[in-house]
Symmetry: C2
Amino acid sequence: MPTVTFLPSYRKITVDAGSTVLDAIQRAQIQMNVVCGGQGKCGKCVVFIKNGSVEFDREKFGRFFTAEELAQGACLACEAVIGDDLHVLIPESSLIQQQKILMESLGIETVFSPSVWKYYVELSPPTLEDPSPDLTRLVWGIQKQGGPLAEKMYAPLDVLRWMPRVLRDSGWRVTATLALVPGGFRIIDLEKGDTRSEIYGVAIDLGTTTVVAYIRSLADGRIVGIASNYNRQISCGEDILSRVNYARKNGLPKLQALAAESINLAITTAANGAGIDREDIYEVVVAGNTIMTHILLGIDPAYMIEEPYVPVVRRYLTTAAPRLGIEVAQDASVFIFPAVSDFIGGDIIADVLASGMGEKDEISLLVDIGTNFEVVLGNREWMFSCAGAAGPALEGGEVLFGMRANPGAIERISIDPITLEPEFQTINSVKPVGICGSGLIDLLADLLRACVVDRTGRINTGIIHPRVRQGDHFPEYVIAWKTETGNNKDIVITENDIKNLIMSKASILAACITLMKQAGITRNELSAIYFSGAFGNYINKENAIMIGLIPEVAIDHIRNIGNGAVEGANMALINRKKRKTLDEIAKNIAYIELNAEPSFMDEYTGSSFLPHTDLALFPRVEKMLDECRLKKIPVGVP
Amino acid sequence: MPTVTFLPSYRKITVDAGSTVLDAIQRAQIQMNVVCGGQGKCGKCVVFIKNGSVEFDREKFGRFFTAEELAQGACLACEAVIGDDLHVLIPESSLIQQQKILMESLGIETVFSPSVWKYYVELSPPTLEDPSPDLTRLVWGIQKQGGPLAEKMYAPLDVLRWMPRVLRDSGWRVTATLALVPGGFRIIDLEKGDTRSEIYGVAIDLGTTTVVAYIRSLADGRIVGIASNYNRQISCGEDILSRVNYARKNGLPKLQALAAESINLAITTAANGAGIDREDIYEVVVAGNTIMTHILLGIDPAYMIEEPYVPVVRRYLTTAAPRLGIEVAQDASVFIFPAVSDFIGGDIIADVLASGMGEKDEISLLVDIGTNFEVVLGNREWMFSCAGAAGPALEGGEVLFGMRANPGAIERISIDPITLEPEFQTINSVKPVGICGSGLIDLLADLLRACVVDRTGRINTGIIHPRVRQGDHFPEYVIAWKTETGNNKDIVITENDIKNLIMSKASILAACITLMKQAGITRNELSAIYFSGAFGNYINKENAIMIGLIPEVAIDHIRNIGNGAVEGANMALINRKKRKTLDEIAKNIAYIELNAEPSFMDEYTGSSFLPHTDLALFPRVEKMLDECRLKKIPVGVP
């Protein structure tokens, strides 16, 4: 009976002459793609005959192959009939091995395809008859365990240095960690015994304010630990500009070290929580804005804050963890997300990756709101992006009782359109002390619905109601009386606060409209609007449209992707194929400099209304406003 | 008129419609392979149409291409007719660029194809309209200068760190050094201004006793400096075994550091002599025996000196120079020759490379003689190798007046067969104090010719001549009377000396014959015998055959390749394609353990005669001995 040896695993099986190669593969329990069930129709069960020959009709099935493939012995396993002993190479692409992982926060699945793996091997010790070198013995052992081809594996110097001791001390039973690198596989660790379950990776969101770390098992993809902490660079300046200036005066190395320290702290917290050893973390994936990643890499960011705003590098980079001071496995590498420009960094590319918009035919809009905002519009073929300063109003700055989303902040509020009485909830359900971004959007939308505020943002002082009054400087609406509050003050929103809020939202809406006009896209062509960032998680979508923060689309077209930066980093961590996507996304995204765009100021002016001067852009809001007006007659709406 | 843009250089040219792509290429002064002169016959002028289309008969010329190539737009430049604007990619393989370098010591040419290059570029500074990142600007600039595709180039962290300063301080005129690495090109240096001429590489022979360094310009291949010095590890033991034992007791790092120091010393001497800066040395190629290269790499050699004699690694390795303490350009890499086994190291692979025997169809034999000897037999398809201890006799040890090739050593000698009077020359032409290896071979051959010594090595004490006498312990022949010598002693060779010499030469000859028998090769099938090592340079080839040091072949089949280790290293330095050959050589060479070979002892016994028991193996010698006997009748020959 002929013996079939499968490569690269060197698994052997004997079969009856006359069997097909597919029969042999199935008997050897190798999981192969056979879409058509072995009828020679789908062309998926491609194998290469490396030694020996098979009966195979090259004329009939030639269409599935290139000339080069045929020259290399390609045939369909289901149609190749075995006569004699064979060596059959099964390419990875013919195997079923796509395990999928649910990305919890996004509610989508991604293929589990990490870029590091562990192989446990039991090797026979060298003898006079087989005095192969240690490395040869190891790589052949790994290949026989189903690993990559022996000649594709190589070991860096430090692994070679400890290899002879580890092999002999373990009785030739070791676990090797392999990482995919250009041109092959690098053996980045060698440990005694079977440590296959101890293989982890970290996804990092390196934010200007906060660093978030997710540790995942790279054996099965599951999350084992999450931690976040402040970026320790805050001691060198709260915003990114002051950090760059700090670096100019005090040198970059300190800031670089603080970035690494912040990451180490988050990793340590997450690792300790999960009870895992940092030495078992073999890959780190970092998404951050362009200046933050330059600083982490120790590359001078100074040229990004002055004209013509030039980064040193925007491609993705892979570097050794110790080079950056990141304390994980000695030979772990750090993958840094690519950027588009100094304003559209790896964090935004991560947003786009997490949203999936860069892989769809339909057109989507992505909005990431913080102190600055970034907007991306497009699909798998093209993307436009822009960025700008949103101003602090939406984060509670420049608003009298504005605050961050801390305990006592009003996070949800609604106003009865008849009685003008508010109903609200605070974070931690304590007495209110202020109002945060999501509350402000609700408030502004309901003040508009109740006709307390008109479309220009003015408070209708003609209304006779205790909550609508002239304040010290501006007209104001009283949200909570001091008897109800936690700070013994009437919590109000003033006309000036509203003006500031409108300026913030107008920048964002104008940016969205500018990109859409550039691309010749109308709101009806948007299949989705993605909100990224903590902000998006909390706001009421209908109210965001009501005030004209974003273009009007159907509510169910608006999706929150949460912390897109860390979600994108997670995706790239567990599915290495997404890294190519990243590079394509980065290349596809054109950056539009809003300040150089003459139409932007016009759009900004139009957007400085609630929701916009042109209500034709907001038909649902227009209808709603009409209904409100009918209920409320007569209050002075412009 | 259509515009043709050539990739990867982005050179543009306008031509008349109806011209061929080859016309356009020639007008653009691109040097292309056109073997048949543009008749569509040779299939060498392959180009790929990347944008636009040409008239080209795919049916007729399809045979030159694979399906995949055709799908990628392949056509023959000479047959492709231009109608409209085109982008034409010219693959490297279609260009004439094979400059050849004469390897002086070997008298052969090799292609000049280094693995590092410098590109000088003048970049336009960034503007608001073109705010491309520094790296992007640089790699596009290099591509436009005829360098690799921009996307194939990447920069390591340290180059990225100094990139923005160098670009701006130089007014955007910089020289980048590129190194070929798996998957692309690494930018290993970036300097201000035009430094294209300052690019060097070093070839190193890392011997147990001596380190030799050749510095070559990698701009044009010429040798700019040579230096050699003792291996500073000699302070830790003279032979390789004592070094390994030293490492066991005192740790490997000191020996590793001494290896690096020895190399640094040789490089510094050669660089200073040539007036070049070590920072301009971008590549180091090292050939050495397996234990020496393990030590240089800091990898424990201990398992190579005990059964079953296992190296840690035998493949070639590339590592960063600073990792080994070799002081050249910061991002230079060190290429370490592969080995076959612990006994057949990179020095022998270098011999094989330098000899060219691994690339020929004809069968050759290579003999490298030192304290140990190595023999390799074979051709491009197969090779056998073995190694053994030659004993010190051929280097002058275990011979009463034997000495190394120092001043006063008799290096050439001949004996008048009738008068038995010698004629000799000494190193530096001073009074003789002893005799070195090449002299000993001459002496033994002529004593045999003069029938003073018989084929068993015994001195014919029946001869009545003042120079043939009974010494203190053994019969002896007086080479020089004490009145003529530099040490006031009669310089003699004793029968015991001759026994030791025969033991040495017998090991080597037996090794050659064992390999030849294994391969089923007779001496008539040998196209060449290569001598490597200093030894080979000085010995008289006819005399080497006379005594049976090597199998008998025609004299003009015997070639000296000099220091094969450093010659091979030089070849791999200036012609990167030889590195693939190296790997194939290393894989092709089977190692025969002589001690495990039962026939070896028989061959050794047969070889312990002058030249061998079986004179049928040495027909020329047999004839010569017959002639000598006729002249000398009667002296007692066995």
